[in-house]
Subunit: 320 residues, 2 copies
Amino acid sequence: MAVYTEVTDEDLTAFLDQYELGQVTAFKGIAEGVENSNYILHTTTGSYILTLYEKRVRAEDLPYFVGLMEHLAGHGIDCPVPITGRDGGALRELCGRPAAIVSFLDGLSPRRARPEHCRLLGAAMARMHLAGAGFKMRRENALSLPGWRPLFESSAARAHEVQAGLAEALDSELAYLEANWPKDLPEGVIHADLFPDNVFFLGGRLSGIIDFYFACNDFFAYDLATCLNAWCFEPDDSFNVTKARLLLQSYRQVRPFSQAELEALPLLARGSALRFLLTRLYDWLHHPEGALVEPKDPLEYWKKLGFHQRARGPGDYGLD
Amino acid sequence: MAVYTEVTDEDLTAFLDQYELGQVTAFKGIAEGVENSNYILHTTTGSYILTLYEKRVRAEDLPYFVGLMEHLAGHGIDCPVPITGRDGGALRELCGRPAAIVSFLDGLSPRRARPEHCRLLGAAMARMHLAGAGFKMRRENALSLPGWRPLFESSAARAHEVQAGLAEALDSELAYLEANWPKDLPEGVIHADLFPDNVFFLGGRLSGIIDFYFACNDFFAYDLATCLNAWCFEPDDSFNVTKARLLLQSYRQVRPFSQAELEALPLLARGSALRFLLTRLYDWLHHPEGALVEPKDPLEYWKKLGFHQRARGPGDYGLD
C-alpha cells in the first residue's frame, strides 16, 4: 500500500508529452506494492500503470527490471510491457524519481489461493523460467544466502521481543544453511517474490504476473520454494500437499526438473522461509509505532520454516 | 490515502452478483479519500468506483449522501452516479461495512488551482446549489457553529504544542463567531468539502465533483467561503484576489446572491477557516506517532483565518 510521491497534473502532462498515449482521462494513486508509488492511468488509448521508483529500489537495478519485462513480454509471458516514449526509452524521470509506464494487466489476485491457482501458477512460472533464457543482463539475488546474515544481525539483539529464543534459533538455522546451501543447481532469471498479490487470474486462466522488482539470477528451484511457502500453506499454518503437488507437477510438465533440484527443495524452502522471516522481522522491529501499514507477522514464516525443517524429502511436497 | 478494508476476490464476486455490471476484469484499491476504502473496478461494461464506508462516516447518513448523488446526477450535475443492483438499491453491505458502487468520473484534480479552475468551479457550484433544490432529505451540518466548541475543547489543552497562545486566540474567535453567526441566509444542499482534490477537470471543462460525504443543508454562501479558503490562497499564504473574483463572479452569473450573503462572506470565511483549523488541529494532536499519513498543517488555516479577520468587506474578495 503505497503512493509516496504525489504527481501534480502539470507534472503528469509534461511527462506524458514524451509518449504517444493519447490524452489522459484519469489518474489515481493505487494501493499496490509497498516499495514504489503506483498510479493507474487512463488515456484515450487505454489503461496503464505509472510507477515512480522510491528509494528502496536501487536506480542501477532498474534497467534490469525494465529490460526483463520487455524481454519476457516479447517472449509471450503475460507481464507488464514497458511503454517506450518518443525517444525509444522506457525509463525516465518524474518528480525527481526514476519512472516508467507499463501496460495494464487485467485480472484479480487471489486473496486465498485455491488448488487450481497453484496448478496454473506452476506452468506459468516454468514458462517464465524458460522465456528468461535469452535475457542478456544479470543481477545477483541480494536477498539470498550471503545477504541473510547481515540482515539477521540487524535484528538479532531485539529478536526476543518477537519470540523468546528466536535469535539463537535463527543463528543456528543460518549456520545450517550456510553449510549446506547448494552450489550448482540449474539457474536463470527468477521472479523471487511470486506471492499471490503479484499474480492475476481471470476467467479460469492466469492472466498476468507483475512486480518484477526482486527479479534476479538464481536457482530456478528457489522460485518454486518461495511459491511453496507463499501459496501452499493454509491460514492455520498447515501445509496443503495437494496444492504443492499441483504446483510442482504442472511446473515440471513445462520444465522438467532434475533429481538434484527435487532433492534440494526442502533446503531451498527453508532458505526462502528464512529470507521472508528475516525481512519481516526487520520491518516488524523497525516500523514506526502506530504506522498505518501494519507489518506482516514474521512468525508466520517461523512456522513455515519448521515444516521444512521436519520434511524428509520431496514426498512431503506431494511428489514421489 | 486509504484502503482500510481488504476485499477478497471471493467477497467481490459474491457482491457483484447482485449487480448487472458484466464480468470484473480488474479491481485495485485507490489512494483517494481519507475516510473510506475506495477501489477502482473495471468490468466488461466500464469503470466504476466501489466504496466501503468506514467508521468515520455514520451509517445513518449514507441514504442522504447516496440519495443526493442520485438526485444531482439526475439533474445534470457531473457527480458520481450510484449504481443500483438487481434489487433496485444502491446501498448494501460488503465485508461487514456499508458499501456502494458509483460511476467512474474522468478528469484530473488540480494540485494547484489556476484562475480558470476557479472560474469553472464557481459556475459548477452554483449549478449544484440550484440542482439540490428538489432534494427531499435533510442533514444538518455537523461541522458548523454548534460543532466547533466541542471540537475546540477536545484540543484546547494541547493547542499550545502547535503555537503559543493558540487556545486563547481560538477561544476568542469562537466567541466572536458565536455572537455574530448569521441566522437567515439562503440555504440548501451544500457540498461542504469542495477542495481541489474533490473536483476533476478535463479538456478545459470541469468534468466532475466527487466525495459528497460532508454534504449537508446549510448556507449556500458557506460553500463559497470554503472554496475561497481552499482555492484562492497561494502556497505562500497570500490571497489571490483574481481567483476569488473569478470564483464569485462566475457563481453569481448562475445563482445571483443577495447583498446579505455578500456581506456575510468575510464572517463565513472566518467560520470555515476555523472549522478546518479545528479538525486539522485535532488530527495533528491525535494522530499516531510516525503514521504514514502526515496530518495537514493546522497553521495553514490560522493564516487564512487572519486574512478574513482583517478583511473589511466583499471588496477584499474582488467584488465591488
